[in-house]
Amino acid sequence: MSIWESFKIALNALRTNLMRAILTTLGIVIGVASVIILVSVGNGATHEVDKQINSLGTSMLVIFAGSSRVMGRSAGANTDIPLSEGDLVAVRDKVAGVSAIAGQLSDSAAVVNGSANWITQVSGIHAEYNQVRDWPVESGRELNAADIRSAGRVALIGQTVAKELFAGDSPLGAAVRIKNVPFEIVGVLSRKGQSSMGRDQDDTVLIPMTTARNRVVGKSGVQNDQVGNLYAKIDSSSDIAQAQEEIESVLRQRRRSGANAEDSFSVRNLAEMMRARTEVLSTLSYLLAATSAISLIVGGIGIMNIMLVSVTERTREIGLRMAVGGRRRDILTQFLVEAVTLCLLGGLIGSALGVVIAAAIAYAADWPVSVSPDVLIMSMTAAAATGIIFGYFPARRAALLNPIDALRSE
């Protein structure tokens, strides 16, 4: 008897007890559906993070100023030195791999356009900022070295600010007031999206570093050459880790830190850190998927249970099949095929359910979801394997029945 014939017999047997078949396979349905949902949501999140890594700017190092703290205490005197223009020049000139470098000195401020008012992040930058961040303007021009030198009152605005203050009108050439200082908008930045922290990067205004220092970033104790954080773009041909070490060594020399002293700055490879976080995230999502695979085991036990019931109910049929020439392996195959069919049925329903729910999550939560065919194939295979593993014992019991006893059973 061919597998195909066994399959038809199995379908017939399942149809006669349709309700029972569906209830039995519910464990498989839930298992497969949750595996698909979790993996798809996890994959989607990973893609999203990849997108954010790309939005950071590839091969970029960020240098943060500030005292490093140990157990909440400042780790020593003179560790609170901000980064300065001198630091910028030193890094640019002494570290071989740095192809562009820019500071970003930020503060929060209200930006006013006529009666419209929007509180956003205002950052002073250097001319190479757009290049370092891989963040070109969509319209208008970037800030240039002349703007920086002359402390020009010019600004670039992000997409969110443009939307909030100009609501569809072209902002180019318009004048806005930031802390009562008038600025001319010379460019609108292209869309950047969310940062890894979930902050809207398009909610920003960029102005020349010099202007920011003099007029906008009004922190007490702002030194006249401080530059906030430094963003350094590393040549694609250079080793980013080596560049990181060189930057650290240059800054240590400038600050005359002792070999064992705590640094008063930190150099970070944000993309690297984010990638590490993504790995944790995707590991977590696979771990969750594995947990939900446990429900496949529970479902498998349900299958085994119902197959044992089925073997008992159909003992006479098994006897008859043996009497007319069914061999033990024919009986074994028949019941195995039936168990596998049951599980595949559950797998199909579960896959459909999983895809629908994943799509619903994507729609409702605006959360990226991607269902890959790999996951579907994987979960169907797992369902079939469940059928074979948990169907084997009942099928074997059927195959080993004594034909006489089986025929005589009621």
């Binding site: 008897m1 049929e317 043996m322 009497a323 007319v324 020439g325 024919d330």
Partner: protein, 255 residues
């Protein structure tokens, strides 16, 4: 063929289809050992029409299980079509049942929610006959038994007599040498019983060996040879004149 028992009716030219030599079968029933068969020797040749009789516990059912290759003897030899079933493994026994023996049961033993055609195709598919050919053969068998218009009917949609005829068509599917019927009319009314017995008689005339296992004398009366069991032994083995051959008066009395 050194020993040839009870071959009165046949010439030596016919080879024995079934030969039992000193067969015993014992069962363990708790502490006790039950001797269901106690040294049975008999020979059935091809084309015979045999009734095996005896009260319950006489050993006739055990004998039927052995003849049907459903079981193997504790000792002694049983040759079916020249093969000693004691030496066969489970697959070979299944194959023997599939090709040489057609079973007919008291309760028909048809599969629920399965069409007559599918029922008859079952032994063919176990014989690895391709489905298209199997369907052709099954259709022919059912038509031969007057069920040509019932091919797609399920057991529930058929009368008892029709169900038993489907079962007989199934038994004949692989063209077996032996038709082994266990109380084939036990679940039928007397009129239908006669129809079924006529069918067996016709089939025997066409050459198939028919073995009826029954405790009813009326049914046994249809056979040409009667073997009676008691306490695990053959106590009577005689050729008889069957009812349908007993003269015009009796024949005329039959419907």
């Amino acid at each position: 063929m050194t020993r040839s028992l009870s071959q009165e009716a046949n010439t030596g030219a016919t080879a024995p289809l079934l030969r039992a030599v000193n067969l015993t079968k014992t069962y363990a029933m708790g502490e006790e050992t039950v001797r269901a068969l106690d040294g049975v020797s008999l020979t059935i040749t091809s084309g015979e029409y045999v009734a095996i009789m005896g009260p319950s516990g006489s050993g006739k059912s055990t004998m039927m299980n052995l003849i049907g290759a459903l079981d193997v003897p504790t000792s002694g030899e049983l040759f079916i079509d020249n093969r000693n079933i004691a030496t066969l493994d489970s697959d070979e026994l299944a194959d023997l049942r599939n090709r040489q023996i057609g079973f007919v049961f008291q309760q028909f033993n048809l599969l629920a929610r399965t069409s007559a055609l599918q029922q008859v195709m079952l032994p063919l598919s176990y014989a690895a006959v391709p489905p298209a050919d199997a369907e052709k053969v099954a259709r022919a068998r059912l038509e031969q038994l007057g069920l040509g218009d019932r091919l797609q009917h399920h057991p529930r949609q058929l009368s008892g007599g029709q169900q038993q005829r489907v079962a007989i068509a199934r038994a004949l599917a692989n063209n077996p040498k032996i038709l082994l019927a266990d109380e084939p009319t036990g679940a039928l009314d007397s009129k239908t019983s006669v129809e079924i017995m006529r069918l067996f008689t016709d089939l025997n005339r066409q050459g198939i060996t028919v073995i009826l296992v029954t405790h009813e004398a009326e049914i046994a009366a249809w056979a040409r040879r009667r073997i009676v069991f008691r306490d695990g032994r053959v106590i009577e083995d005689a050729v008889q004149s069957p009812v349908w051959d007993a003269g015009a008066a009796v024949a005329g009395a039959l419907p």
